[in-house]
């Protein structure tokens, strides 16, 4: 029985990891784009971006998942997610947009905390805006945002369990199925071991990144 449970939980955890990894890959760059939007000097764009961030951060992720998955079918009688990986795609869209909004505020805080002198030093040396951002500012921003980012990213590991609400087979679902199927409660609690182990690895990883960036002070 134990090996059967481990097999099912591990299968579920692979899905969890998939949601986690793809969400990060999408949300990290999208968050930067949203951050630039919310710092834009073009006011309509800034207002639009700020409104979107307000809505996304102001409503539960679970609600967003349900809205994205069921919304098209209920509103337009057009279930765009009606294909084999449809549920998973809906989950990824919801997670990437949601996390990008949170990341964008962390990026914005980081970018605005860099002294104006760093931008000006690049300017008087004849650099272009993108050279200034990528060659001077970005690494200093990364150094400053590692602690808040690690918080968000560790929250993401556990938020993946929300995808269960639109029936994506991740680890919580896998554990829960043993209650109905085999009258076993411990597999559900055993999922915590997976979460703990993975978050432990991430914590060590973030510690290494912080250490790696400690050679300079900014």
């Amino acid at each position: 029985m134990f090996s059967e449970v481990i097999k099912a939980l591990s299968d579920g955890f692979l899905v969890t990891l998939q949601i986690f990894g793809i969400t990060l890959l999408g949300a990290l760059p999208l968050g930067l784009i949203i951050a630039f939007g919310s710092m834009s000097r073009f006011l309509p764009l800034k207002a639009l971006v700020k409104t979107i961030v307000w809505i996304i951060r102001g409503t539960p992720l679970m609600l967003q998942l349900i809205a994205i998955y069921y919304g098209p079918g209920l509103l337009f009688h057009n279930n765009i997610w009606n294909y084999s990986n449809g549920r998973m795609t809906a989950v990824l869209v919801a997670f990437i947009v949601n996390y990008a909004c949170y990341f964008s505020e962390i990026y914005r805080g980081g970018i605005e905390s860099i002294s104006k002198g760093q931008f000006e030093a690049g300017q008087v040396l004849g650099m272009t805006k993108s050279q200034i951002f990528f060659k001077i500012i970005l690494l200093q921003v990364i150094k400053r945002i590692v602690p808040p980012m690690s918080n968000e990213i560790i929250t993401l590991v556990k938020d993946t369990s929300l995808s269960r609400v639109i029936a994506v087979y991740e680890i919580i679902w896998a554990g829960q199925s043993f209650i109905k199927g085999a009258a076993l409660i411990w597999p559900l609690f055993f999922t915590a071991v997976y979460y703990l182990a993975f978050c432990g690895i991430l914590t060590v990883l973030f510690g290494l990144i912080e250490k790696k960036l400690s050679y300079f002070s900014a």
């Binding site: 000006e120 030093a121 300017q123 008087v124 040396l125 650099m127 272009t128 300079f216």
Partner: protein
């Protein structure tokens, strides 16, 4: 021909008129010190020259060609501003070295990005400049490992790496404790040659007196007095200059 000629530069922030029509010219190889109390517009003037601020009116000409004309309706494009900036170098009061790069890389970064020669040439030139400011032994240190005076010397090398026509210093020693100002001022003095034109905004009167060819005293956004150090320090004409110099040179 003057290397720099500025004419009737005006600049306001909101309703506050900071520069009320500044005109002067500078010959190649001259060192100009700009003195004056805080808020007189010295720093704003330097920032207008470096296009960190855009003057509202007036013209700026370098080597006889007008690079800025406040009366022309045409807004300068980003690339025009960038090429204009390259006529000038600026050393900041707060150094503004790039903390994540070591000293060599700080000096090499801009010439590398601007493709000023092969990587070997850029590095050789950077090493020579770092030696010139006396920091060869710190070449692979990071800015946070250097004293303020050393950081400022690196900032000078970094500005020189792009070979600007005119090198500007914005109160280069104001963020340093007195023990460190000497080394920076000696480096600036050492740069003086027939080819290097410099503008130094400073509160160091002795430095202005001994190093500069011209001294410009600014008060309330206008040039109150302009002349050789002997003229300005020895025989100031304006009452404001006299009062300022008395205050600055007062010994406690």
């Amino acid at each position: 021909m003057s290397v720099l000629e500025i004419n009737n530069i005006k600049k306001s922030f909101g309703r506050t008129e900071v520069l009320k029509g500044i005109s002067f010219s500078l010959e190649k190889g001259e060192v100009l010190s700009i003195i004056g109390s805080s808020g007189s517009g010295k720093t704003t003037l330097l920032r207008c020259l470096n296009f960190l601020e855009t003057a509202d009116e007036g013209t700026i000409s370098v080597n006889g060609s007008t690079i800025f004309d406040g009366s022309s309706a045409k807004k300068l494009s980003d690339s025009e501003i960038r090429s204009n900036r390259l006529h000038f170098g600026l050393v900041f009061q707060s150094f503004n070295l790039f903390p994540q790069y070591n000293i060599l890389k700080n000096v090499m970064l801009a010439p590398t990005l601007l493709k000023r020669g092969s990587p070997e040439e850029v590095e050789a030139q950077a090493r020579a400049l770092i030696e010139r400011v006396g920091l060869s032994d710190k070449i692979s240190s990071y800015p946070c490992e250097l004293s303020g005076g050393q950081q400022q010397r690196v900032a000078i090398a970094r500005a020189l790496a792009l070979k600007p026509d005119i090198l500007c210093f914005d109160e280069p020693t104001s963020a340093l404790d007195p023990a460190l100002t000497g080394e920076v001022l000696r480096v600036i003095k050492g740069l003086k040659s027939k080819d290097s034109t410099m503008i130094v905004v400073t509160h160091e009167m002795e430095f202005a007196k001994s190093v500069s060819d011209k001294v410009l005293f600014m008060a309330d956004g206008i040039i109150e007095e302009y002349g050789t150090p002997d003229d300005v320090f020895g025989a100031p004409k304006s009452e404001k200059t006299k009062a300022f110099l008395n205050n600055s040179l007062e010994r406690f």
